[in-house]
Amino acid sequence: MLQLDGMRAEAGQFGVTADWAVPAGARVALIGPSGAGKSTLLLALAGFVPLTAGRVLWEGRDLGPLAPAARPVSMLFQDQNLFPHLTVAQNMGLALAPNLRLTAAQHMEVDQVLARLGLRGMGGRKPGALSGGQAGRAALGRVLLQARALLLLDEPFSALGPGLKAELLTLVAELAVGATVLMVTHDPDDARRFADLTVLVADGVAAAPVPTEALFAEPPPALRQYLG
C-alpha cells in the first residue's frame, strides 16, 4: 500500500498537499489543470522534491530518508529519458547496472525486453535513429527493467499522437503487471483507458482517489470546469 500521510511538497511556484492511500497494484491517474501540482506530487514521491510536511510510506516503510535511486520507484519523465549518445541497449542496461558492466544474464534480460517491446534488432541504435514511438518503447523498457514496485509516469508519450500514445499505454498495462502505477495526464481518455482510480489535482490539493468511471460519470465542479 502507498500511503500519503498528510504530505506537502513545494517546488518553486508549485505546491501540493495529499492525504490518502492506494492499494498495491492499483493503476492511478492524476488529472487536473496545469500548475495544479501533479508533477510536483510525482517528483516528491520519486524523491526529487523534499517534503515540507507529512510522510510518504510504501508497505509501511517511510521513504523520506531514501535517495531517489534507493526508493522502490522508477519514473518515466516527460522527456530526456534516454541518453542520446548511448545505444538503446546501453540505455536500458543502465537500469540493471548503473556502471554498464552487465553480466551475460543481464544482457539476455535486455534482449528479452527489447523483443517484448517490438524493438528486436534495434538495441545497437542510438535514440536519434528511432521513431518517436520506438523511442517511447525504449524509455519504457528502461523503467520495466528497473522492475520497481512503484512506476511513476509524468505525462508519458505526450509528444506522440493519440493513436501511438494509446498503444504504448496498453503496453504499460500489459507489461507492468503487479506494479503500482501513478500516471499524470491532461487527457481524460488516458485516465479512462488506463486507470481504475483517478485523483483530481486542483489548486494545490490532490483529492482522495475515486473509481475513474464514477468520477467521470458525475464530475465534481472542479473537474467539470477543467473538462470545459
Binding site: 520519486a46 526529487f48 535517495a67 531517489p68 535511486a69 534507493a70 520507484v73 522508477s74 519514473m75 519523465f77 530526456q80 529519458n81 541518453f83 542520446p84 549518445h85 548511448l86 543502465l94 537500469a95 548503473p98 556502471n99 554498464l100 542510438k126 536519434g128
Partner: protein
C-alpha cells in the same frame, strides 16, 4: 548521501586553486612590504600599461566591427576558412606573432621595402616640401609596434565574438527588416547597433585584460622608458636588477590592476569567448552596391593582415627546421610535456569545479584571472628560492602556473555545457543511481567531449606559447618560447625563425589533436 565524496573532491580542488594563487601572492605582499619601494620610473610604467591596453582594446574593436559585419552578411567560397583563420592568432605564441610582424613590418620587411620604392618613385615629383615629413621607413619597435602586435593578436578574436553576435540575431528580424523595406542604415541602427552595444563592451574588456598582462610583446617590441609594461618591469627587476622587493611591489600593482579589471568584468557580461563551430551560414544577403566592394576590401585586408605574418614565419623558418640544434629540440620536448601536463591539470580541475553549484567554488575557479603569470611566477620564485635552486623546479612551477592561468578560460567554457547536461539528465542520473565514476565515464565525458577537447587544445596552446613564468626560473630547463626569445635577443635570426616555426607547429598540432579528439564525440 553518496555524493559527499564528490563534494569533498570539489572543495579540495577549489582550495588547492585558491592556495596556488593566494600563496605566491601572499609571499609577494610580504616581500613588497609597502608601496614605497617602487622606483622613480614606475608611475610611467603603470601609465603605459593602462594606456596601451586601452588603446589596443579600442583599436581592435573599432577595426573588428566592419570585418565582422562583412563576414556576417557575405557568402563566398572559403568563408569558413577565413573564419577559421581568425581563430589562429589567439593560439599563436606571442613571440612567434612578433617574429612574423617583424618580418612583414620590420626594417627589411615588405612594408618598409614598399615604402622605400614608393619614396624613390614619388618624392622627386612631389617636391621639397614633403621631404621632411614623408616617412622613409617605419620602425616596428616602440609604442606603435606594441599596439600593432596587440591588434594583430586580438582583432581576430573580437571579429569572432562579433560574428557570433551577428549570427545570434534571429533571421526573422532580418526578414522583417527586409519586408519593411529598411535601408542598410536603418538595419544597422535597429539590428546591428543593439547587438554591438551588448557585445562590444565585454569584447573590449577581454582585450584590455589580455593586453594588461602583455609580456612577450612588450619584451620584444617595447622596452625602454616609453614602452615598458608592468609585467616587463617585473621581469627586469628579477633578472637584471636582482631587486626582488621592487619586483614584488610591481607584482602587487599588477594584481591590483588585474583585480580591478576583473571586478569591472564581473558587472559586464563577457561574450562567450569563441566557441567551436561558428560557421553557420549567414541567412540574409547583404546590401548590394558599393557596400559589396567595401566588405570585400575589409575581408581582404583582414585576411592579409593575419596571413602575412603567419606566412612570413613559415617562409622564414622552413629552410632551417631540419638543421635545428639538439638543444632546441630538447626545449621543444620540454614545452610539449609542460603543455600536455598543464592542459590535463586545467581540464581536470575545471571538470571537477564545474559540477559544483556553490558560489565560492566558481569564485575560486575564476580567481587566477586576477593574477598575471609573472606575478604568480615572482611569488613562486620568492617561495622556493630560500629553499632550493629555482632552476631545479622550473618545469613543475611552469606546469602549475600555466594550468592555473588556463583554468578560468576552460572553466568558463565547460560550465554552460555542464549546466545544461545537469538540467537535461540530472534527474535520470539520480533515478538510475549512477556512481560518480560511472557517471563521468558514461555520461559526462561523452556528452562534454567536444568542449573538453576544445578547452584542452586551447589550454595546451596557451601553455606551449607562454613566455611568462618559465623565463624567471629557467637557466637550463628553458621551454621553447624562452629559447626563441633568447635566440632573437642574440640576433641569431635564422635559428630563431626556425625555432619559432617549430614552436607554432607544436602549438597548432597540440590544439588540433585535442580538438580532433573532441570532434569524434558521440552524438
Amino acid at each position: 548521501m553518496a555524493r559527499s565524496p564528490v563534494k569533498l573532491a570539489q572543495a579540495s580542488v577549489a582550495a588547492l586553486v585558491v592556495a596556488l594563487v593566494l600563496g605566491p601572492l601572499l609571499a609577494v605582499f610580504i616581500a613588497a612590504g609597502g608601496w614605497l619601494r617602487l622606483a622613480a620610473g614606475d608611475g610611467r610604467v603603470v601609465w603605459f600599461t593602462l594606456w596601451q591596453a586601452a588603446a589596443s582594446a579600442g583599436l581592435s574593436c573599432a577595426l573588428a566591427v566592419p570585418v565582422a559585419r562583412a563576414l556576417a552578411r557575405r557568402q563566398f567560397a572559403g568563408r569558413g576558412a577565413v573564419i577559421m583563420l581568425m581563430g589562429a592568432p589567439f593560439l599563436l605564441p606571442g613571440i612567434v606573432a612578433v617574429m612574423g610582424l617583424i618580418a612583414v613590418f620590420g626594417k627589411s620587411g615588405v612594408v618598409s621595402q614598399g615604402l622605400g620604392l614608393l619614396t624613390q618613385a614619388w618624392l622627386p615629383f612631389a617636391g621639397g616640401q614633403f621631404d621632411a615629413v614623408w616617412p622613409r621607413s617605419v620602425s616596428i619597435y616602440g609604442v606603435q609596434g606594441v599596439l600593432l602586435a596587440h591588434v594583430f593578436l586580438n582583432l581576430p578574436l573580437v571579429v569572432r565574438m562579433l560574428l557570433a553576435g551577428w549570427q545570434a540575431i534571429p533571421a526573422e528580424r532580418f526578414r522583417l527588416a527586409g519586408s519593411l523595406g529598411m535601408a542598410p542604415g536603418a538595419i544597422a541602427r535597429h539590428l546591428g547597433r543593439p547587438m554591438l552595444r551588448a557585445v562590444l563592451p565585454g569584447a573590449a574588456l577581454v582585450v584590455f585584460l589580455v593586453c594588461l598582462s602583455s609580456f612577450a610583446v612588450a619584451l620584444t617590441l617595447g622596452g625602454g622608458p616609453g614602452a615598458t609594461t608592468v609585467e616587463l618591469a617585473i621581469y627586469q627587476a628579477v633578472l637584471f636588477e636582482f631587486d626582488l622587493n621592487r619586483a614584488a611591489a610591481l607584482a602587487v600593482v599588477q594584481v591590483g590592476l588585474c583585480t580591478a579589471a576583473v571586478a569591472v568584468a564581473g558587472r559586464i557580461s563577457l561574450p562567450a569567448a569563441f566557441g567551436p563551430g561558428l560557421d553557420r551560414m549567414g541567412l540574409v544577403a547583404g546590401p548590394a552596391g558599393w557596400r559589396r566592394g567595401a566588405d570585400a576590401v575589409w575581408i581582404g585586408v583582414a585576411v592579409m593582415f593575419v596571413l602575412g605574418p603567419l606566412g612570413a614565419v613559415v617562409a622564414g623558418g622552413l629552410p632551417g627546421v631540419v638543421g635545428l640544434p639538439g638543444s632546441v629540440w630538447a626545449a621543444a620536448g620540454r614545452s610539449v610535456l609542460v603543455a600536455v601536463l598543464s592542459a590535463g591539470l586545467a581540464v581536470s580541475a575545471a571538470v571537477v569545479l564545474a559540477q559544483a553549484r556553490a558560489g565560492w567554488v566558481a569564485l575560486a575557479a575564476m580567481l587566477p584571472m586576477a593574477a598575471s603569470g609573472l606575478a604568480l611566477g615572482t611569488g613562486m620564485f620568492l617561495l622556493v628560492h630560500p629553499l632550493i635552486r629555482p632552476a631545479a623546479v622550473a618545469l613543475p612551477v611552469t606546469v602549475l602556473v600555466n594550468s592555473a592561468v588556463a583554468l578560468p578560460f576552460v572553466y568558463r567554457l565547460i560550465v554552460p555545457e555542464m549546466r545544461s547536461l545537469q538540467n537535461d539528465y540530472g534527474r535520470l542520473q539520480v533515478a538510475l543511481g549512477m556512481p560518480a565514476w560511472a557517471l563521468f565515464r558514461l555520461v559526462t565525458l561523452p556528452r562534454l567531449r567536444r568542449v573538453l577537447g576544445f578547452g584542452a587544445g586551447v589550454a595546451a596552446a596557451l601553455s606551449m606559447g607562454d613566455l611568462g613564468v618559465n623565463v624567471l626560473f629557467a637557466a637550463d630547463a628553458a621551454t621553447l618560447p624562452v629559447v626563441v626569445a633568447r635566440l632573437m635577443g642574440s640576433y641569431q635570426t635564422d635559428l630563431a625563425a626556425s625555432a619559432a616555426l617549430l614552436l607554432v607547429a607544436c602549438s597548432f598540432a597540440l590544439f588540433a589533436l585535442c580538438d580532433q579528439w573532441g570532434r569524434h564525440a558521440a552524438t
